[in-house]
Point group: C2
Chain length 332, copies 2
């Protein structure tokens, strides 16, 4: 069948209508009729080739919700007509030590949904059924879409680092990822602090679950957080931020700063502090996150654009004017 | 009583004979007749004021073994005549959240044995009984001394990061700390790799328990270690070293590089890698480490100097000619 998509044909150019043919499905593949797809900053990094690894033509989109219209011979656990979501990971090798432990999102051979593969800015897409996650009934498709990448990326570290209700958690950057991180951390029962350079986000940050709001202009008191999630791409004063951690505390990057982070190792040594990073979630946590979001009524605040207006949506994200996530709606 | 010590009176000067008076003991204090004291690189950093926080006159020495000759009214768990060891931590506040969790070595109010206090390059010293650890009978005093700082510093991270026998552990820098790290990691049953810039250390590194020996001149294969302990003070290519970790692997600094470490956060994000640090051990792990060393016959390779020759010993350490730890013997 012919798939109608929007593609980037060269770095930094507007997306163009683009069609491609799908002949047959592999044994593990499913064909998804896309209804919604989130627009993530990573899509824009790929479109603009900021990471110097983009492959053109490039169909962006990795926060995909749709229904299965066809499936490969080995896909037993999903049904035709079932509503599923697809995230950043298209597939993994399934046989390395990391995959065998279930940690498919950090497989060294993993393929991504919209670089090694055509993504979700399209009326249909082919996904790996093993990486297609049923969406709980109470989550509507438009709000479920951003959970698949932004949501899973901020949820997984809370679980992997064993964050519990008594912990004090700070979220740096209240955007697409950050506004979901506040909601998840609040639902975990934590003491939640939002840290932003935009003072005008205070009221809304508190509506997402932050108990406190800080800016970095006036350096906050040291030694107060167990866990800090940084969602920003800016180069902050990371040693100042490490000073905000309690002994044994952890700074977790889910956003990638533009430049290398100059870390003063002394504070790590003297107080057993930790620096880590995370992106999306393994398959078990993806299922768990969706169920948790449904149970706690966690949802992104979104602005919906028709797919045909994708270039306008990209400009609005680049101008930092979206509150807080764009979701593209695909008319079928 | 009058205590006869060696002290540093100004940065980078040779130590001088130095006496001071002890009138009475505080309730938690013990007077220790010192028999042996290790010479650690941290002593030299303090003597030379490399950390810009040395307080003169400064009596170095924080790997102390001796016997208790007097004790304060609140010291019930130790006996006069008992052999004990003292490490880097003189005392902690005992009331902050960190202390209440038992993590006294990362208390923000902790005092150090030989900067906020007179250390072990002396015939006697005053210690806090709560930070004086009985030495297991089968450990001789000269070999027990370096375990107290060097040993505890490489032991604690293995425990705090839940290192188990199937893990692959690398030790960077085969010196005072590194040669003990190899022994502990081997006793944990791990696959142990020594990484050194001195190719001539290969045979000895293997005698300490390393199964493999690598230099960094030829970059080792990526993705092979679960845990890397760096004991060095040099500025290495930390991003190359992070590439040697498997997904979810951890780089633990126990040595402090001279300069800030420029970290490419991307590899942390993409593969959930971790950077951490550690120094000495909490009191529970200090007891455990001593018992473990006794049970596994782990001991440092030492060169003994009489205390009167301390300046020669310091020169030999600075010239990187000691294999692998100096212990000062105090004639009483």
């Amino acid at each position: 069948m012919k798939i109608h998509a929007f593609a980037s044909l060269a770095p930094k150019e507007p997306l163009q209508p683009f069609t491609y043919e799908v002949e047959t499905l592999g044994s593990f593949e499913v064909l998804i009729k896309v209804s919604h797809c989130g627009l993530c900053h990573s899509d824009i990094h790929l479109i603009d080739d900021n990471w110097k690894r983009s492959k053109y033509p490039l169909v962006p989109g990795h926060e995909i919700v749709g229904t299965i219209t066809k499936k490969g011979s080995a896909v037993d656990h999903l049904k035709i007509g079932q509503r599923v979501g697809v995230s950043w990971i298209h597939s993994a090798c399934m046989e390395c030590a990391t995959c065998l432990e279930g940690e498919t999102n950090i497989c060294q051979q993993k393929k991504t949904t919209c670089n090694e593969h055509f993504g979700g800015f399209a009326d249909h897409m082919v996904a790996d059924g093993r990486f297609s996650f049923p969406i709980p009934e109470t989550l509507d498709s438009a709000h479920a879409a951003p959970l698949l990448c932004a949501g899973s990326t901020v949820y997984a570290p809370l679980r992997n680092h064993h964050i519990q209700a008594p912990h004090s958690v700070a979220v740096i950057g209240i955007g697409g990822l950050g506004h979901l991180a506040l909601q998840f951390a609040a639902a975990f029962g934590c003491a939640v602090t939002a840290i932003s350079h935009s003072a005008e986000k205070e009221t809304e940050a508190k509506s997402f679950g932050a108990h406190r709001f800080l800016t970095l202009e006036k350096p906050p008191a040291p030694n107060q957080f167990d866990f800090i999630i940084s969602t920003v791409h800016a180069d902050l004063d990371w040693n100042l931020i490490l000073s905000l951690l309690k002994p044994k505390g952890t700074l977790c990057f889910v956003g990638r700063p533009k430049n290398v982070a100059p870390i003063d190792v002394s504070s790590l040594v003297s107080f057993q502090k930790n620096i880590t990073g995370s992106a999306t979630a393994n398959r078990a946590l993806m299922h768990e996150m969706l169920a948790f979001a449904a149970r706690h009524k966690i949802k992104p605040k979104i602005e919906i654009f028709p797919l045909a207006h994708v270039n306008q949506a990209i400009e609005k994200v680049k101008a930092n004017k979206v509150r807080y996530r764009v979701v593209l709606e695909i008319a079928n």
